[in-house]
């Protein structure tokens, strides 16, 4: 743990905090979006906001795989779990997310479906081997980090001729979503928050490298710093972003040099490329349909593609109407701006995607900064 402790050290944090205070220009605001829910979580869990000046704002992005899986796909997963003889394997944090009619994989399990929590795709493969007379479906979700293990599982199943294994693929792509947020035509320019830079998710870049973010600097003139997930990583990255902004520079910088390179992990990229191809369009919960923003399993592996292998019914899914998630995921609004926050919408009873996973912005505010947020809401209501 020594390695990690170093990145949570109080004295170092105070030094970085002093440097940020010294270099941030009080005459302006700095709006930085952390794309990834992992960063959101770290910022809240360690109270990083308290260590930066009030004019440095963290804008929380859509990078939480649990938050952005649309209800309809979740309903599909529940349907797959309920096929006679099926075993649906999923990572733990998907199990509680409510789909239509507030049903989750957990409630499907309570109703008799065989839903199993796994910690890796290898566990799902082992379950398939142990149950040759059952159909084992792995619910694949996540960004570039969780995609290679899904690809590996499919290749392994193909090599072994494991006929009762398939993946329900919902893997999505980070750069596409960032591009979409910056392009989003539906944002009223008056209302839109100006983004002065991005904290890029380092674990994604360990796979894809920092190169895929270069368009942000080149085309959109936005500084990017690939940031690690420890609180001090985040603080150091904020300092690097402030310096870029102050100097009028626009570049993709790498704070997380201990792992990330420009090119990323070529082997993982090849693996993913062998198994997956771009999906023409995919729906993101809260953000809607986005071109080239997700992956599908290539035809040569069609027999491991749950979507092709099993009939999944057409269904309509409805989001809660007054939920402000789309605006929150784009960084336009804050959780306190949603009327439902904390009243009807809590982690126990989530109404929208930002509250469903511990990494969503609403859940983070509720879990870690509830006292302040409720006080602010009361103040605003009184005005």
């Amino acid at each position: 743990m020594k390695y990690v402790d170093e990145f949570r050290d109080r004295a170092l944090a105070e030094k970085l905090s002093a440097a940020i205070h010294a270099e941030a220009d009080p005459a302006r605001d700095y709006n930085f979006m952390e794309f990834c829910g992992g960063h959101t979580h770290a910022i809240f869990r360690y109270g990083v906001q308290d260590l930066v000046p009030a004019n440095v704002h963290f804008i929380h992005g859509p990078g939480c795989p649990v938050c952005i899986l649309p209800i309809r796909r979740l309903d599909d997963a529940i349907e797959l779990a309920e096929m006679p003889g099926a075993i649906l394997c999923s990572y733990g944090d998907m199990l509680r997310v409510p789909g239509s009619k507030r049903r989750s994989l957990m409630s499907a399990k309570a109703d008799g479906a065989d839903v199993r929590m796994v910690y890796s795709t290898l566990d799902a493969l082992a379950i398939a081997r142990a149950n040759p007379d059952r159909q084992v479906v792995f619910l694949g979700i996540g960004f570039e980090t969780t995609t290679p293990p899904s690809a590996l599982a499919i290749r392994q199943a193909a090599d072994e001729g494991l006929e009762n294994f398939s993946v329900f693929c919902n893997h999505v792509l980070t750069p596409a979503a960032i591009r979409h947020i910056l392009d989003a035509p539906e944002i009223d320019p008056e209302q839109a928050v100006r983004l002065d830079g991005f904290l890029g998710p380092s674990h994604v870049s360990t796979v894809i490298g920092s190169k895929p973010y270069e368009f942000l600097a080149e085309k959109y003139a936005k500084p990017v710093v690939i940031a690690g997930f420890e609180p001090l990583d985040v603080m150091q990255s904020v300092l690097m972003l402030i310096r870029q902004v102050n100097d009028g520079r626009v570049a993709v910088e790498n704070q997380y040099t201990r792992v990330v390179t420009r090119e990323g992990n070529a082997k993982a990229q090849e693996l993913v490329d062998d198994v997956f191809e771009l999906r023409p369009t995919f729906e993101w919960r809260g953000l809607g349909w986005m071109a080239d923003s997700a992956l599908a399993i290539r035809d040569k592996y069609a027999r491991f593609d749950a979507e092709k292998r099993f009939p999944i019914s057409e269904k309509t899914a409805r989001e809660v109407k007054s939920c402000e998630c789309p605006a929150i995921l784009r960084g336009v609004k804050k959780p306190k701006d949603c009327k439902l926050f904390g009243k009807v919408c809590t982690p126990e009873n989530p109404m929208g995607s930002c509250m469903v996973s511990s990494e969503g912005a609403c859940a983070a505010y509720w879990t870690y900064r509830r006292a302040e947020t409720l006080a602010e809401m009361a103040l605003e209501a009184a005005e």
């Binding site: 109080r10 109270g47 795989p65 990572y91 733990g92 199990l95 910690y119 126990e348």
Partner: protein
């Protein structure tokens, strides 16, 4: 834990399993009780051979606490369901400020359960009770059909006596009081996780399962005015503290750096995306007492192996009533919330 007796003098065959007739009230059941439970629990109260246990009338007020134990896996690093069922209930009684007097134990056993495993559990239970100096006075055994139970469920009830003058109750918590924790958190939960199927990870962490009544008695002797004792079991430290502030006119402020967590536990949590504050403990207690008594109580804790790592972790506050807040490791501030639902490992 005592090993199984040599098979020469075997009380049962090595491959013998629990059958429905073991629960049927006939000779088989009497046999099971005699060979397994009475064998391991032997004490004068149980040996009354009566359906009730007669206890002498004690001085002081009586507390009773009951707890059902269902756990998977049944055997884990540092303990098993048997010792856990003894420690858990003894601790509940002790947290009421009471001296435990006797325990009762109810078993629900699934048909087909290996007798050798049952014997191991009973042996560990007997030993835990003996070590604690508290007899298992009476019990009950039921067998359910295969598939209708998960091996063994154990319900234990504890009876204890609170000395006059001791008033341990959440109502006595007030701003300014100190919050003490008896040692590193998360050991039990991580030990269980490490033994869980599909997750077996190599770790040296063993459950902290332990009886705390002796340490609690010494703490009370050191400061009879202690406001509260509570063992942070399910839901971990965060649930315990939140329970104590919810709906009250006080809050709590704790310091992350003061909360002991073993490095192995911290690493495992990091890996699985869990928060040690939410992880179960079976051998820890939280004590709230007047700030002036804190050092004396801490000294009493440090004198016991169960309290060797005890620390002052924060204070009760008048500000932000209803909230537990924490100064984070790096100097920020956050709310420490209840866990919502079951703690599930995150994916990335």
């Amino acid at each position: 834990m005592t090993a199984l007796e040599p098979l020469g003098k075997a009380r049962f065959r090595a491959d013998e399993r629990v059958t429905m007739s073991h629960g049927g009230g006939a000779r088989a059941m009497a046999d099971l009780i005699r060979k397994v439970f009475a064998h391991h629990f032997a004490n004068p109260l149980l040996d009354q051979h009566h359906d009730v246990a007669r206890l002498d009338r004690p001085e002081g007020r009586i507390v009773v606490s009951t707890d059902g134990h269902v756990i998977s896996p049944l055997f884990f690093p540092g303990g098993d369901i048997g010792s856990l069922a003894v420690h858990g209930t003894l601790n509940d009684v002790a947290m009421g400020g009471a001296r435990p007097v006797a325990l009762t134990a109810g078993f629900i056993i699934e048909e087909g359960f290996p007798l050798a495993d049952l014997d191991r559990i009973a042996a560990s239970m007997g030993e835990a009770a003996r070590k604690a100096g508290v007899p298992i006075a009476t019990g009950d055994t039921k067998v359910v059909e295969r598939g209708k139970g998960d091996g063994v469920f154990i319900t234990t009830t504890g009876i204890g006596v609170v000395p006059d003058g001791v008033e341990i109750s959440p109502e006595r918590i007030a701003p300014g009081q100190a919050i003490l924790l008896s040692g590193p958190i998360g050991d039990h939960g991580v030990a269980i996780l490490s033994a869980r199927q599909g997750l077996e990870f190599g770790t040296s962490i063993v459950s902290d399962s332990a009886a705390l009544h002796r340490m609690a008695a010494d703490m009370i002797a050191a400061a009879p005015d202690i406001a509260l004792l509570r063992d942070p079991t399910r839901g971990g430290l965060s649930a315990t503290l939140n329970e104590l502030v919810e709906g009250t006119r006080h809050g709590m402020l704790i310091d992350e750096r003061a909360i002991p967590v073993r490095p192995e536990v911290a690493s495992a949590c990091e890996l699985l995306g869990l928060d040690p504050l939410h992880i179960a403990n079976e051998g820890k207690l939280v004590c709230i007492c007047d700030a002036v008594d804190a050092d004396r109580v801490l000294a009493a804790m440090h004198a016991h192996p169960e309290g060797a790592g005890a620390a002052l972790i924060g204070h009760v506050t008048a500000e932000q009533p209803g909230f537990v807040r924490m100064t984070t490791r790096i100097g920020g501030m956050r709310v420490v919330d209840w866990l919502s639902g079951e703690q599930l490992p995150r994916i990335c």
